[in-house]
Every structure is written in C-alpha cells, then in structure tokens.
C-alpha cells in the first residue's frame, strides 16, 4: 500500500497534512486557533501555509496535526526550523504516531521570533510535505483599572435624588456584594486572556476602584445614560487613569449594548473630548478622551465580550491610521452597522464577528458550531494580511499587538 494515493488534476492543490485547533469549546491559551483561512500573506509574501502563535516562554502549547491525504503508515516527523523559537516537546524526538490525528506540543522561546514546524517524510531530514508557521510574540501586559461605577444624582443641597447601583444578577450571575462582583469581573478578564495570551497580550487588572457618576459627569440628571452621556462621563470620570485602560463596569445604558471598546484614535477623530474647550483667550482646561472599555452589568455580557471589545480598543477591526475613522468595525464583509457581515463558518470563528450567539440558520445548521460550542461565536484572530482592496480586516493578531505598544495607547 503506497503512502499517498490521490488522483491529481492539473490545477489541484494537494494537502497531504493539515493543522487545526487541538481542542473544542472555549478559548484556551495553550490551544490556540490556527489561521488556515488563506495561504496568501501580503506581509510575508514568501510564506504559504497555516500559522499560529504563542507568547514568549509559553509552555505546553498544543496544535492538532492531521494526516489528510497521506497514509497512517507513512513515517512522518515534526521538526522545528529553529528550536530556540519553537521547541517541540511532544512527540519526543519528533516522530509522529500512526494516528490519523494527533497533538504536537511545543514550548515557545524566550524572545520574539518566527519559526516553522515542518512535517518531514520518512526521516527527520526527509522531504518536507507540509508546515505550520509559528509566530512567537514578546509579552505585553495591557494594564487595566476597573471602575465599579454607580450613578448618583444629587440636588443642590447634596441630597440624593436618584440612584442606580449594580443589579443582581450582575453580568448574569448572582453577586450580592462587592467581593462577588469583583470576582465576576476578574473571571471575565481571566477568560478573555485565554483568547489573547497566544497573541502576546495579557490583560492585567492593576486596581479596582469605586467610581460615582452624576450630573458633573453626565451633564444631566440621568441614571439611564445614552451613548453621549455615557461617553462624556467616561471622559470626565473620577479616578480616570492615564496609565491604564479604564474599564467602566456600568449598571445600565439606554444604548442596548453589552459592552463597548472605544479606541483612543476613534475617540479623538470623532471629537469625544471633554470638557469642551472655551473660546480663547480663556486657557483650555485639561481635556480627556472617552476612550476605554464600557461593560454593562445588567446585560448578558460574557468574557467573550471583554475579549471582543478589547479587540476594538486595540484598533480592530480596521481603524484608518490617517484619519482615525473606523473603516470597518467587525469581520469580513462588515459595513458600519454590522448588518451585512459575512456570515460563514470562518467569520463565525472570529472574535471580531459582531454577533455573540450564532443564528440558527437552518438548513445550514452545520455552521452553528465552529469548534467553540453550539451556537457560540469563536475566539479566532487572523494573522495573514490580504491586499487592502481584498480585505482590510485581516492581520488582527499583529495589528493588536502593535497597537498596545504605540504612543497614545493609554490616555488620561
């Protein structure tokens, strides 16, 4: 029995082996999703193959290897092109088993770099029949100050005339006190890290503060703020930090959202700057942007909301570098408003897909599970870059990592 039996047509591409995510269900930092969407990369024109990433010094990172069109009898070896970047720890010695699918486990090197896991035929220096690119990112912490915001409106004498505290359930969970609410937020942020750690980004809660918004912040007597009132209050918020991403956990909004990540560049471009500058010659007061992460505690927000909205904060999906305009907010095919986003199984895998729960599009129910659970959107971030005329939403992984390092990422 030969190792490879497939009729090859003139223009047919042959993939004797392939790679995929090594688990199903929720995102996990040691089981990153693999970009096998397209083998073209405008940024790395010489590369044609699937790609995954890990954070420097990450251990026991797993990817799934598949023998798609080659016999289980064929002797195959997984070999790293640079063990200082990607050190394969399992299978030991690189010899792959005779299973149709198995995991390959590796440890990422201590510094940023790029290497391939090559699949070699016959011997560990035999001909290469497939490969997986691995990008190792240096670790960057995205520092967060979490504000537990309550709304308190007072009259001129200082008496409370209206108030809105956090509801119970708090983010869909019974949280009767502050400690439980903090635990819920930490749980969300920790879970969001499962998506982002393989991209070198670690959300880190530096501190948690109790913050009150009232008339000075909203500019009105509301305890159910609309978008304008919410963003103004975010900019003018007490305790706003200049060295952390401000994460505002707010009790409610009329905006009908679960959360919103406002990137600094978009806030600046659209004039979400407060307080307004007075006409000259008066000296302008210190002004603040509305940038930050807004999470609504009476909504159905999940950890994935945090991961998605932080994607927006880190300029995803496509923020125009010249103007700050959001050329596209979400994944491929999106127009502003999100009504026309491409709704295929790849889009549904992406963290920047705009719908949290997948629509049950019978008879195409096969699309309802993209590996993250039934009717659950995924946590996939794209690596490859396509020509701008083709798709401006790709290369999310590198763009987000770069954004987190850029001047103006943290804004007071």
């Amino acid at each position: 029995m030969p190792d490879f039996v497939t009729t090859i047509w003139n223009t047919e591409r042959i993939y004797m082996v392939d790679f995929g995510r090594a688990k199903t269900g929720a995102a996990h930092r040691r089981f990153p999703d693999i970009d096998n969407v397209g083998y073209h990369d405008d940024a790395f024109a010489a590369e044609h193959g699937p790609i995954v990433s890990a954070m420097a010094n990450q251990t026991r990172v797993n990817v799934r290897f598949h023998r798609t069109e080659i016999s289980t009898a064929a002797k195959l070896f997984a070999v790293s092109t640079d063990p200082t970047v990607v050190n394969i720890t399992s299978p030991a010695g690189g010899a792959l088993s005779r299973s149709r699918s198995q995991n390959i486990e590796f440890t990422a090197g201590g510094a940023a770099g790029r290497a391939d896991i090559e699949i070699r035929y016959g011997w560990n220096d035999g001909p290469m029949i497939g490969r997986l690119y691995v990008q190792v990112y240096a670790r960057i912490q995205v520092l967060m100050r979490v504000h537990l915001v309550t709304y308190v409106q007072r009259d001129l004498a200082g008496n409370i005339v209206a108030q809105r505290n956090h509801p119970n359930p708090f983010f869909s969970k019974n949280c009767a006190n502050r400690a439980q609410r903090i635990a819920r937020i930490r749980e969300f942020i920790n879970q969001a890290n499962e998506t982002w750690v393989p991209h070198g980004v670690v959300f880190t809660v530096v501190d948690i503060v109790d913050t009150v918004w009232g008339r000075p912040e909203f500019g009105s007597g509301t305890v159910s703020p609309n978008f304008g009132e919410m963003t103004q209050a975010g900019a003018l918020s007490p305790n706003r930090s200049a060295v952390n991403v401000n994460v505002y956990c707010i009790p409610t909004t009329t905006q009908g959202i679960t959360g919103m990540g406002i990137p600094p560049a978009w806030a600046r471009a659209t004039g979400l700057v407060f307080p307004p500058a007075p006409p000259p010659p008066a000296a302008p007061p210190p002004q603040h942007l509305s940038s930050g992460l807004y999470l609504v505690s009476d909504s159905t927000a999940t950890a994935q909301t945090v991961a998605h909205e932080m994607g927006h904060y880190m300029t995803l999906c496509a923020l125009n570098p010249l103007t700050g305009n959001a050329d596209q907010w979400h994944s491929t095919g999106d127009v502003l408003g999100g009504a026309h986003t491409r709704d295929d199984s790849v889009s549904r895998r992406r963290i920047m897909y705009p719908v949290v729960s997948l629509l049950n599009a019978a008879p195409s129910t096969w699309r309802n599970n993209t590996g993250y659970g039934n009717q659950l959107a995924g946590s996939f971030l794209t690596y490859r870059r396509l020509p701008a005329a083709q798709d401006i939403t790709f290369e999310e992984s590198q763009r987000a990592h770069t954004a987190a390092l850029a001047p103006g990422f943290y804004v007071g």
Partner: protein, 288 residues
Amino acid sequence: MRSNYAIVLLVISACFGEGQSGKVMNPDHSLRSQLSHLIQARRSEEAKALARTMNPGDVGVVLQEIAGTPKPAVQLLVLDIASEIPSVGSCRAVLGRLQDSNLTIRSVANSLIGFCNQRAVIPDLFQAMDESHDTQVQGAIARQIGISGDATAQPQLQEHYDNTPDEGLRNSITVAMARLGNEDSRRRVIQRLTDPTVDARIQGLHDIEYIGEPKLARYFSPVLEDRRDAIAISPPHDPRVMARVCDVAAGSMTALGLPLPYRALPLRRLSDSEIQQALELVRSLYAQ
C-alpha cells in the same frame, strides 16, 4: 526577632538617615527619601499621597533617580506618579524608559510622552528621538517638541526630516515645525485641504487642530463645501451615520476655539444653515 529589628532599623535609616546622624535635616530631602522608600516598597497609595503633598520638582528628582530600577512594578509606579505630577524630572523618568526591554513599561512610557511639556526637556526629547528606532515613537516625540519647544527647535527638526524616508515621521515633523511657526511647513499642511482624497483632507484638518492656530481656518472653504462622507460617528451595531468632511471641518473650528454659534464637537451631521454659518465665519477671517 533579630532580623525584624534589623529591617526596622533599615527603614528608619532610609527615611531619616541624615537627620538621625546629627546633621541638620533638610525637610525636602527627608520627604524625598521617604517617597523613594515608599515607591521601592511598592506602597503605591501611600507614595502617591505623599507625592501630592510635595514640591513637583522634588518628586521629579526622586522619580528620575529610581526610574532605572530593574523591578517592573516599581517602574510602573514611577510612571504612574509621573503622569500625575509632571515636572522636568518626571519627564526624564518617562523618556528614560522609552527603550525599556519590558514592552509593558515601554508602552506606558510611550503613552506619557505627551506629559513632557517643560521647555527644559527639549534636549532630552531630541536625545530620545535619536535613540528610538520606532518611527511612531519618534513621531510622537516630534509632535511633543512642537508643543513644548519654540522656533529654535526648527533646525534640529529639519535635520531629522531630511534624514528619514518614513512618510509618517516626516508628516509628524512637518506639523511640529508648522506649530512652531515654520511657514513652509504650514503651507504643506494647508495644501492637504485641497487634496482630492477625503483621507488627506481629514488629516489636514486634524493637523491644523494640532497646530492650534485659529487663523488657519481661513483656508477651510474647500473642506466646508465638501459633502463627502468621512468619519463614522455611530458606534458599532447602530445604524450607520457618517460625519462628512464639512462636519469635521466645523469640528476643527470648534476645537480651534472659533466663535461658531453652535458646538460641532463631538462630531455630528450639521444642517445646511450651520455649514453656511461656518463658511461665513471663515470668509470673515479671510477679510481680516
């Protein structure tokens, strides 16, 4: 017990060393020692509280002294305090971390370049610009020089302009020089307002906001007459609403402090009569 006693002595010594040894204790020096100790012990709230009561210059001296400590948590606290209490020393503490090997420290320092508002740190800003290999960081520094410096900084900025092929950095240097009064640079920025592309026009408007010279609004007629969609002002998931070039231009006039009879920020789609009012104001500026 013995080791605890030793630690207590060390702390006292760190806080009040000179005073205890019989010399005349300088109260400022004592506070500086105390602040230094609190920061290095990562007692952040106490350190911030003390720093707020101190002379900003003294705080800056402490921050500059300990900014190079190898502990990331201490460095982050230094940067946090520097963001609250700006001074020459604070700025130097920030600039000293722009090349930090720890990306977290570097990202915070990068974001604090805008706090370096003291004229005395202009040479430090130029040095940081020379040492950086990141054109985005160099651009942010150039823009900060445009804010903190004066016309004497122009030749050095011009030198940087001549030595870089990076278009983004060249643009940052151009607008910095324009802010410092360089007429040639101002002309280049103004030219963007008549560029055929929306992006260039919007960039020109944002650059003029940065330059901060209200008189430049007299060149706004072409952009106030441009009704093309430019910037999404609706949040994700909401029905799409775009601000047009003319709306952004009126927003820039508001940012420049021009006396429009309405506020055009945050951006919104203005009525025809509001655009007309903006045009009339621009024409009156031209007449002046």
